[in-house]
């Protein structure tokens, strides 16, 4: 029974007018209760663990929490406190700097991807795996290794610098250098991802275009500007957006690289660390909820921009 009604609208493009009307007013019964059996387990979890918490967190951002639990409505207090807290701007700036450094990896990745795309290159898959390795490795674990590499007294980086007569700082314990260290590790861990996505984008450019351009006497640079750049733009855009959103959520690397008692943290922390610190170290849940809302809005803006522009390139990315 249900199968018949579904068939009517789903496939055969039957006489248009009556079919649409039937679709409008629930004459066709759909698939009965089956869809609910399929959807409900997920839906229940999503409502309980995501939708409700998002609404509740938004509400919490207007409340103040007592030391021993319990909270009361406090209007915009958290927000006014937040926007006058220098730590917010410091964390935002740190996050932006980190994101910018990680994004420096995109042109490098594009260059490496074009080298990897060389026809007939041997070991290409081996290189791919090598560059992708940091992307899949546990951030908390690799950060411990980098911590040793960056160690001020016996780290191998400072030893290498000393060969050139440069005295290296105690990287993870010096403001500025600590953020630089975190950013470099972030760049290292996301480079492979950008390289693979851009490589796929390069592969999708038909080689005939270059052949035609060659026949027309277009220079290498001209080919790059008029063929590669416009046709690769959707992939570049995708990589930039995904990397920006991921970088804005910097936490794991920072936490594990610096350690949670590092004196350098106030000057180095990211937005998400600021959130974590307020909510789970200082137990200031209402304030942390306000920080979460700010992060939400910032990331929402980036995502909206992505949707807008992606529609323009639909099917290309």
């Amino acid at each position: 029974m249900s199968a018949v009604s579904a068939d009517v609208s789903e496939s055969a493009p039957a006489p248009a007018a009556p079919a649409t009307r039937r679709k409008r007013r629930g004459v066709r019964r759909g698939d009965g209760l089956w869809p609910w059996a399929f959807v409900l387990p997920l839906l229940a979890g999503v409502l309980v663990f995501y939708i409700w918490p998002i609404l509740q967190t938004a509400f919490y951002s207007f409340t103040t929490w007592g030391v021993f639990g319990g909270f009361k409505w406090s209007g915009l207090d958290n927000y006014s406190r937040l926007f006058t807290d220098p730590q917010l701007y410091r964390s935002l700036l740190n996050t932006v700097i980190y994101t910018a450094v990680v994004l420096l990896g995109v042109p490098i990745a594009a260059w490496l991807a074009s080298l990897l795309n060389t026809p007939g290159l041997r070991f290409a898959q081996f290189y791919r795996v090598l560059f992708f390795l940091p992307y899949v490795a546990m951030p908390a674990a690799v950060a411990l290794v980098w911590r040793m590499i960056f160690n001020g007294d016996y780290g191998i980086l400072n030893w290498a610098l000393s060969l050139f007569g440069i005295p290296g700082p105690s990287w993870v314990n010096t403001p500025g250098f600590a953020l630089a260290a975190v950013s470099v590790v972030g760049l290292w861990s996301s480079l492979g991802f950008s390289m693979i996505v851009l490589g796929a984008g390069l592969k999708n450019i038909p080689p005939e275009l270059y052949e035609a351009a060659e026949l027309d006497g277009a220079s290498r640079f001209r080919q790059f500007r008029s063929i590669t750049l416009p046709l690769l733009a959707p992939s570049v855009f995708f990589v930039v957006v995904v990397t920006t959103i991921a970088s804005f959520q910097l936490f794991d690397l920072l936490y594990a690289l610096l350690g949670n008692h590092n004196a350098v943290l106030p000057k180095t922390m990211s937005l998400v660390y600021y959130f974590y610190n307020a909510g789970f170290v200082e137990n200031d849940k209402g304030f942390a909820a306000a920080i979460a809302m700010v992060i939400f809005v910032l990331i929402g803006l980036v995502t909206l921009l992505q949707f807008r522009l992606q529609r323009r390139w639909a099917g290309n990315a």
Binding site: L42, F49, M148, A256
Partner: protein, 275 residues
């Protein structure tokens, strides 16, 4: 084009990619070296590029001095449970959202997908409250619960089912098979590639994730490896080579899995853009 010139340009490319690849792999290689050194060798000002004697007992010490085994077990359990749950729940829901008709479908789908726009901080505090209220802090259930449900997985599976030709289902219906049969024996086998993408990203995310387990588990024996290693970061009492061995062992399962399934993992993650 003369062959020699081509070989020469390839040599240059190999040089660039080789040096780049070495930089990428260096931390892992250096980690292996440190994990087999003595504490004194690791802390010598001139690096010990190869330990005088390979200290294999550092790996034994990981299991003796740290609650590594129970943490490993926690990591394995949360990864397996969350991945299986995501596959089952997202495939079912994705199928219904793509192929079945029911009241409120568009609204409910929009509700689920809206989570994709929201960073995890926007629900973390409240999730913590819920887990705390259930008395699940420092339990496996607490770490696992929110991650059983995935909006991204639902999106992925819905797209997979949407792309199937309608004839598949019709043929099954004409043969007289019900929705469950059709789903199980006709459609499920066809969307297997998407299920594997979902599984890969779920495993990777679940194994590596830090913030949530850090928040809901405070007891060392109840933590997964990611949280356990991160809390050891500032701890000066730990022996460095043992710490290196522990972090290597913590990464190893994923790295081995990655090397075995390399093409699938790379393609799957690159297309989704999610860890």
């Amino acid at each position: 084009m003369p062959r020699a010139r081509r070989r020469q340009s390839h040599a240059l490319i190999h040089l660039v990619l080789g040096v780049g690849g070495l930089i990428m792999a260096f931390p892992f290689l250096w980690q292996i070296v440190m994990s087999l050194s003595t504490n004194a060798e690791v802390q010598s000002v001139t690096p010990t590029f190869w330990p005088a004697h390979l200290q294999w007992q550092n790996y034994a010490a990981v299991f003796q001095r740290l609650p590594f085994l129970s943490q490993l077990w926690t990591s394995v359990l949360i990864t397996v449970i969350r991945t299986l749950a995501q596959i089952v729940l997202c495939t079912l829901a994705g199928y219904a959202f793509a192929r079945m008709r029911f009241r409120g479908r568009a609204v409910l789908l929009g509700l689920v997908l809206s989570i994709l726009l929201v960073p995890s901080q926007a629900y973390l505090i409240s999730q913590y409250q819920i887990v705390q209220g259930l008395g699940w802090l420092n339990t496996l259930a607490g770490i696992v619960a929110p991650g059983l449900f995935s909006a991204y997985g639902t999106f992925l599976m819905r797209t997979a089912f949407l792309n199937l030709p309608a004839e598949l289902e019709e043929a099954a219906r004409i043969d007289g098979s019900g929705p469950l049969r059709t789903f199980w024996s006709v459609l499920l086998p066809v969307v297997r590639p998407s299920i594997s993408v979902l599984a890969i990203s779920a495993v990777l995310w679940s194994w590596n994730e830090l913030l949530w387990p850090l928040v809901v588990s405070t007891r060392a024996t109840q933590m997964p490896l990611s949280a356990a290693l991160a809390t050891l970061a500032g701890d000066v009492t730990v022996n460095y080579p043992v710490l290196m061995a522990a972090s290597l062992l913590a990464m190893a399962p994923i790295l081995i899995l990655f090397i075995l399934l390399q093409r699938r993992v790379i393609d799957g993650l690159a297309s989704s853009g999610l860890k």
